[in-house]
């Protein structure tokens, strides 16, 4: 069902492009002459999928998190450019030497939408509440894996204790997944909070209504005055209301924006991007931090047990061609297993350069000789591996088909196999794959430990005590950048050198804003920040 409407959307884009060039004279000026921000108005924002659940503590999808971010504040915030953790609900904090104990001092004056204060007891209730959600907290469950308890030191001071070094927690404390809800929220069931009932945060917007598959409406919080210092203004948000309209068809989303029925949209498809170039529309773009879209190898299976074969595949992928042909200039070729927007990202683009000759040489050395159909063979075995993927990103199929062609040139047969998301999850957990294709958004290098450590996800099925484990443990043990950076960089280097993962491209958020819409921003994890957004009259 998903590919046909997509093709139709492509056709529509062509029609829409003709329309945009010919008719609508509404698009005037650019963003430069927008004038000072104006309070008031409703932002009609087209999003691509139903949030299912609007509680940011539970769901991990962009649709849910983009809504949830506006409703809750977090203990800290993360600077979008430097990745540094900065104050928000907490003015300051202290971390003990092995990163197992975090003491936060809260700012005064912040309140939840029901009038109760954001104090140490409320923070404890909220963190305990997230922990109690267990795996229902899709992201928080990982962030709080080692969470032991919270202690109210005094009304302004709360201490969070962990059973293992958790340097990643400081960044996690800045996410909406660990955003603070009012104690009253936990008197409702998780399912009720999913539907917005009792979803009471201290954020710049308050929940108003949620109609499944239709829209989510949030409204300005009156008297809000405790915004993150990195936001462009202080006080209340500009917008009176935001209507998140759920518009699954990409062609309808872009057409609605072009025809003025929407003020902004998310998930502009590569094929639709030209529509919004240089005609008054703006296109905010930001690469997701975290693990890039990659082929993670199961090192215990078939031809992928040989590191030289994996390295050949790594050299045989032409990343630039992938972004140039299947995607657009807004997407970056991978320069590490971590995206370039991730703190402590190491630039390994030299190691990831396209080198088909080097790849062939490696395979020759290992005794793989080209067979009659161009695919190499050795002792009757074909140089072949299967990759499983699901359509979480629309372009996945096209990207993998191109990678398949590229690898064919070095004599490697990549068999691509589309599965549903649940099937992919199941196979991933069972370790039943040669390659898996996925990405994961997280603005902290610790995501590598979660995926590659033999004590956690271990997606490459490595054996315990390998050098990568050591590097991953080291970066988890300290929040000090001077000590953490070398460990994180070593981990990235090991993964690429050993080709445990073959990074391909960075998932990128591409949005479209109408001529009147301004200030729709990204937070550090490339999710939406609407506090500074406004609409020209």
């Amino acid at each position: 069902m998903s590919t046909l409407p997509l093709r139709a959307a492509g056709l529509l884009a062509v029609l829409g492009l003709a329309a945009a060039c010919g008719g609508t004279g509404a698009a005037t000026g650019g963003t430069g002459d927008a004038g000072p921000p104006r309070p008031g108005g409703t932002l009609r924002l087209g999003i691509s999928s139903n949030p299912d659940c609007v509680d940011p503590q539970q769901w991990g999808t962009n649709a849910a998190l983009n809504v949830g971010r506006q409703l809750v504040d977090s203990l800290t915030d993360q600077d979008q450019t430097s990745g540094e953790i900065i104050p928000w609900l907490a003015e300051k904090w202290e971390v003990n030497a092995d990163s197992t104990s975090f003491t936060f001092t809260l700012r005064t004056g912040a309140t939840f939408a029901d009038g109760t204060p954001v104090d140490a007891a409320a923070v404890k209730t909220s963190y305990d509440g997230i922990k109690a959600l267990g795996p229902k907290a899709q992201l928080g469950n990982g962030y709080l894996a080692a969470y032991k308890s919270a202690t109210v030191v005094d009304p302004k001071t709360v201490r969070l204790d962990f059973s293992a070094p958790s340097a990643q927690f400081l960044q996690a404390s800045s996410t909406m997944s660990l955003g603070i809800l009012a104690p009253a929220a936990y008197q409702k069931s998780p399912e009720q909070r999913c539907q917005g009932e009792g979803l009471i945060g201290s954020g710049p917007f308050v929940f108003e209504s949620f109609k499944a598959n239709q829209q989510v409406v949030i409204a300005k919080r009156k008297g809000y005055n405790w915004g993150s210092p990195q936001w462009k203004h202080q006080g209340e948000a500009y917008l009176d209301k935001v209507e998140f309209r759920i518009v699954p068809e990409p062609g309808v989303r872009t057409g609605s924006l072009a025809s003025g029925q929407l003020d902004a949209i998310t998930d502009v498809q590569p094929v639709d991007e030209p529509q919004f170039a240089g005609n008054g529309f703006t296109e905010p773009v930001r690469a997701n931090p975290g693990v890039v879209f990659n082929l993670t190898a199961n090192t215990t299976r078939g031809v992928l047990t040989d590191a030289k074969v994996r390295q050949a595949v790594l050299k045989g992928v032409n990343r630039q061609e992938v972004t140039d042909t299947v995607l657009t200039k807004n997407y970056k070729p991978a320069s590490s297993v971590l995206g370039s927007a991730t703190p402590l990202h190491a630039d390994l683009s030299k190691e990831l350069a396209y080198d088909p000759d080097g790849a062939k040489k490696l395979l020759d050395e290992q005794g793989w000789v080209p067979g009659p159909d161009g695919i190499r063979v050795k002792d009757g075995q074909r140089l072949s591996a299967k990759i499983i993927f699901s359509l979480v990103f629309n372009q996945n199929q096209s990207v993998l088909e191109l990678v398949q062609q590229q690898l064919r040139k070095i004599g490697f047969d990549l068999q691509i196999e589309q599965r549903t998301t649940p099937e992919t999850q199941q196979l991933t957990l069972a370790g039943d794959y040669d390659f898996i294709w996925y990405n994961t958004t997280r603005a902290d290098p610790d995501i590598l430990r979660q995926l590659f450590s033999t004590k956690a996800g271990n997606r490459s099925k490595l054996t315990a005590g390998n050098p990568l484990d050591a590097a991953l443990d080291k970066q988890a043990a300290t929040v000090e950048e001077s000590a953490r950076r070398p460990a994180a960089e070593e981990a990235q280097r090991l993964i690429v050198e050993q080709a445990y993962s073959i990074p391909v491209f960075e998932l990128t958020q591409v949005w479209g804003l109408g001529p009147k819409t301004h200030g729709v921003g990204f937070e550090a994890s490339s999710r939406m920040q609407l506090f500074d957004a406004w609409i020209a009259g």
Binding site: P5, N213, P422, Q425, Q426
Partner: protein
């Protein structure tokens, strides 16, 4: 074919039970797992086997299949289809909340289809202009071969984006109903038109038409009063079948027009392998189908008094 009401009800129950059982068997045999789909999330990295087992137990998914089937059937009889594994909402509530929106577009779609198909058939068989007749005869195959999502996107492009007459999305009011209903009506109306035109031609070739004409009735009177009345029966039977198709068509139409409804609920439930919701939808669709066919059957005697006599006679003698 029409018989006593008790027998019809018994048939309906059997159909519903079969729908429930078949869907249970199919869903149980599908690979994949709703609990994994839910817990996996975006990261999917922190879920342990123990977490999955606990969650599975909470939904009774660790019971033996036969026990699960029995439990679910017993609850379903009482109108309880369990909770959605994906969102935790009541499955039946989820489906019933989505129903009005779907009924609105399929209902209006059916009206449009009957009008559109009827007009093609009646004008096509009545006209003396050969080219108009040929043109109208060509519409049904064309209408039936156009992919609905393409029609929907085209309608949006023209009537919403270019002309600005109706909104492209949402489910508020009549304006948002028209385009999706037209989208649904095109293939359905095409089939109705084709069948109706064929049976109209058959009727018009019957000897009784000559008799009526000889008695001095006008062509229009013959067409409307006599031929159409007799030709409507096969088309009406078809409407019953097509109502089910309309419901299926709503999956695509609702996505294109960003509407809530059974189609959207079904699509996401199938993707997430959310068994309780999928089952609720299947049983509801079966119920819908049974009711439509019952209504069609009851309409027969209205159109054909001979059938009415037979029903009464049988009903009386049958009891």
């Amino acid at each position: 074919m029409t018989t006593g009401v008790p027998r019809r009800l018994a048939q309906a129950v059997v159909v519903l039970w079969a729908a429930f059982t078949l869907s249970f068997v199919i869903l149980y045999l599908l690979p994949g797992d709703a609990v994994l789909a839910k817990l996996g999330g975006e990261a999917g990295t922190t879920v342990t086997a123990a977490d999955i087992a606990r969650e599975r137990a909470a939904y009774g998914l660790d019971d033996p299949v036969v026990l699960q089937y029995g439990k679910r059937l017993l609850a379903a009889v009482q109108g309880d289809f369990g909770r959605s594994i994906a969102t935790g909402e009541d499955a039946d509530e989820l489906v019933l909340n989505a129903l009005p929106s779907t009924l609105a577009i399929t209902g209006l779609g059916l009206v449009f289809a009957v009008v559109f198909g009827g007009a093609i058939a009646i004008v096509g068989t009545y006209t003396r202009s050969r080219w108009l007749g040929n043109l109208l005869a060509a519409i049904p195959p064309l209408g039936n071969s156009l992919p609905p999502f393409w029609v929907g996107l085209l309608l949006i492009q023209v009537f919403s984006f270019q002309l600005g007459l109706v909104p492209a999305m949402g489910s508020d009011g009549f304006a948002t109903l028209v385009l999706p209903a037209v989208t649904l009506a095109i293939p359905t109306g095409a089939i109705i038109g084709q069948v109706l035109a064929k049976s109209l031609r058959t009727q018009l070739a019957e000897p009784y038409i000559e008799v009526v004409l000889a008695k001095g009735a006008s062509r229009a009177r013959v067409h409307w009063g006599h031929a159409l009345r007799n030709a409507a029966l096969p088309a009406l039977t078809l409407v019953g079948v097509l109502a089910g198709n309309l419901l299926a068509g709503s999956v695509i139409t609702e996505s294109v027009f960003s509407r809530d409804g059974i189609g959207r609920v079904t699509a996401s439930a199938v993707t997430a392998q959310d068994i309780p919701v999928v089952q609720a939808v299947i049983v509801l669709a079966a119920l819908f189908f049974v009711l439509i066919n019952l209504a069609v059957d009851l309409l027969y005697p209205v159109l054909d008094p001979r059938l009415s006599g037979r029903v009464t006679a049988k009903a009386v003698s049958g009891v």
